[in-house]
Symmetry: D2
Subunit: 301 residues, 4 copies
């Protein structure tokens, strides 16, 4: 039986760790919130007092953390505190599923490589529903051997496992995809509202564009106009789903990447501005398809 | 045998009229360019000396013209010249497949209705290849009865026939779709180039995004990055396909519509600016996926 | 004593006509709202029952109307109704101070010229305060002789009289200026808020930028951040001044012009999108510097 | 006689150090390029073998370096190498005139403060001409006492000395200003070209807007349209002035700042995209007013 240390048991990490237990892994868990640990212990996990303790003598480490600074701090440590790289064995495969900037991912991967340890970036998409159902998509930055070795663990948590390239490539591919998603969502919203403003039924317009050259994921799975599709956030007052604040975070990562490479992403940059303004008006915790609202004529005045 | 008058025999209209002949219609043709008429006559059409002459005593009229002013002038006539509405019988169904502004389409439809004649807007997508193959998409603004009556003719030229709503709705749906297409193309281009700037293989990145939430028509059918897909314009130096100048025209129609309804389309407006700048640098006759080029680092200096 | 017919006595036209009276012109007035006529009559004007009646036997006609369609209808007339061009003498100088699209202005100017009458476009800036104080700016599209002849009238209402070029040029210059103004306002707002978000005092930042290369009219006269300047709308809850809805109208005219000439104005197009969204959220009647609000973090949630 | 160490003797730093010599300071200089040192020695400076050597026993240190990483490395040092903070006395005032990110500036200022040393950020504007003439603008982030103490040195190199706020505020104000400048330049360019596309004389249009609500620094000092003003880069094939690559750098700093504070700067972000695309087409070394070119119709095809 293979052993996994799982660190970071939030809305995503908790169900992911649970799926590892269901798949038969022995799982040692750690989180800063004791209650989060307790939930996993009740499902068969072993509690650890620290991340370091969890990561000792395991086959795999999986981390699910909020941002690059947490990942760097945990793996690299600092003057007062050892990092995971200081204590794991060379046989342990380190898998970070956080969505962070590619530079941080590369930095940790290189530091690991210098010690003969393999660290791969494997950010996910699919949301909390996908985490619970074990149908997440993993986009990996890894060597061929690291990618192969990670399969057993990732398959227990996800349905699609992609190999984007070497260290950091998983993060780059994830943010390229999510930047494009924001563009699709904003662009589809304004097209649907333009049609509505000219008297078209958004359901009819959606049906036409979906099978035409305007076809895209948001029309297939996540229509932003209320009551065009059922069982999506737009038909539930934009509750649930993927929060505006998280899209702002991902768009921020995309712009950080564009700055580093002196790239231009005019559509993505504009989408970020629209999403930041939307968040600043108090919509940060609504679903990201609520960007549709900025195009609709409010019934004020 | 039903009779069709076909007016406007350009790159699109010519092959469309030819498909009507193949489907067994008697076709009377007119174009300002005699050579264009001659090509159709050789395929079995009857030449007409004027548009008016062509439209007399036919079951259907199909027009394929450059812009709203041509459509209005042809159907409504003016002080010196009769319009089609002055001479066709009430049994003739008028089908305009030009891509024009919705206001002009509505104006002609209403003028026709006042005389008891039915005029429907039925703009197409699918390009010259679709016109030749008879696989065009028609997006119709029409009454239910008009839409039903048009089926026989439209099926002879296209594969998908949509009913978007009442008069003008076909034009609105078409430009909403094409505006969204421009957004998809620009957004996908910048996402692919951002990935490339960070060392990713655009083929791998395309494969990942295509089945993820960034999935859209351009990744499926028309990848803008050279040599990711074969048999698309990007792999043929952006020759063929749908010209930048035509996308500029359609984006112009979308912005005209947005002005009329006081709607905002920030992504579409930005896409128009990028396409206009691209056209002004001398790229008007290249395929519209060549917008990819503006994101690439030129090997100048 | 020279005679002027003044047609359109709204918030701008009323005070402008009053200034003509003060300057010693005999003024015949017409408006669709009887109360507006009455106010001018009390100041010494002569009431007319129709616009046609007002314009008979005068040296000058000045019109101040909402949009191009009103200007065209008044001057050109239609099947049922004569237009001003049908009744004024060749010695009458026609001055339209409405802000309308340049095409309509040119159309009327050319129709007038065919009858040997001179029509000039002379849109204004300076707002209701400038109209009352007689300090408006007029931007004229006119022949040299027409421009010269208009001086007497325009000087009675304004402080700066510019000659932008031939017929229509006044309208073009006006909308270029107002589009740029919207860009300055939005750009200055976001720069000030970025500074605030990093702890800077907006007053200090304004003082620095005002004398540096970021210097522009909004920092000099119309700071959008509350309480940086007194006596501007931003320090009065964005009441008074130039309404968002009017800026949306002018930005619409600029985009209409850009469509006609196949020009790209990415900054102006983006400013229009931001202003339309702002208007749609219920801010149409607030001052246009309230665009600052979209960048500020709301105290909701 | 007060002593200054000047580190970084490039196009800006060289003439700045020369002005300190002219003002009577004893100047110790260091640069990685020996020839740059030699030029200053010929004007009376003392050569130093290292930056550390230059900074020993001086009243002031002035640094002029390319980016935040160089500033951090020089002042903070690293495992192998001491930093300036390790060797300067508490009486030495450290002045960094580089344009860098505010976070780096704050980091060094705080590290200095912990040792009882004062470090102020004092980025400049005014270009190489201003550096030579001693008419630079300095925008300072400093305590009141530090700002006061720096006057003697800054006055020897500049004409306007601003106090933007505490540590880092100089950098923030500088990038807010330069972001706004890019917006002014792009917005003015597109407004002028829109006018030209409608037949207006850009000189006349510039004269009108300059004294109207579109008035801004670029119309006063730096018109981007060729031959409207003489003695500006646009009338000299966009040679000289402030390079596109430097504007791209400053716009990058503004976007980095916007990411840190979760601010939205839609106009600045769009300006950055336009400038990056322009640089990528091979215009990086032309003056930044050459952005005008992207709006002009090329005489290709």
């Amino acid at each position: 039986m293979k052993t996994v240390a799982f660190i970071g048991l939030g809305n995503m990490g908790g169900p992911m760790a649970a799926n590892l237990l269901k798949a038969g892994f022995a799982v040692k868990v750690f989180d800063l919130v004791p209650a989060a640990i307790q939930i996993l212990v009740e499902q068969g996990a072993t509690a650890s007092a620290t991340a370091i303790e969890a990561a000792e003598n395991v086959d795999f480490v999986v981390t699910m953390l909020p941002a690059g600074k947490h990942v760097k701090s945990l793996y690299l440590g600092n003057a007062e505190q050892k990092g995971l790289l200081d204590i794991v064995s060379k046989d342990t495969l380190l898998i970070d599923s956080s969505t962070i900037d590619a530079e941080s991912a590369k930095l940790v991967a290189h530091a690991a490589a210098e010690k003969g340890i393999e660290f791969i970036d494997a950010p996910v998409s699919g949301g909390t529903a996908g985490a619970a159902a074990g149908t997440l998509t993993f986009i990996c930055g890894a060597s061929d051997s690291g990618f192969k070795k990670a399969q057993a663990v990732l398959n227990a948590m996800g349905a699609n496992i992609f190999h984007a390239g070497a260290a950091g490539a998983g993060q780059v591919a994830k943010i390229c995809n999510n930047m494009l998603l924001a563009v699709l969502m904003a662009g589809t919203s304004e097209a649907l509202q333009l049609g509505r403003d000219h008297g078209l039924d958004p359901k009819v317009l959606s049906d036409i564009m979906k099978v035409s050259s305007g076809g895209n994921w948001t029309l297939d799975k996540y229509n932003p106009c209320p009551h065009v599709m059922e069982n999506v956030p737009s038909s539930n007052d934009y509750q649930g789903g993927f929060m505006v604040d998280l899209m702002v975070k991902d768009l921020g990562l995309s712009q950080e990447a564009a700055l580093l490479s002196n790239s231009s992403t005019p559509m993505g940059a504009l989408a970020r501005s629209l999403y930041v303004n939307h968040a600043r008006q108090g919509n940060g915790r609504r679903d990201f398809s609520s960007i549709f609202d900025i195009f609709v004529k409010a019934n004020k005045e």
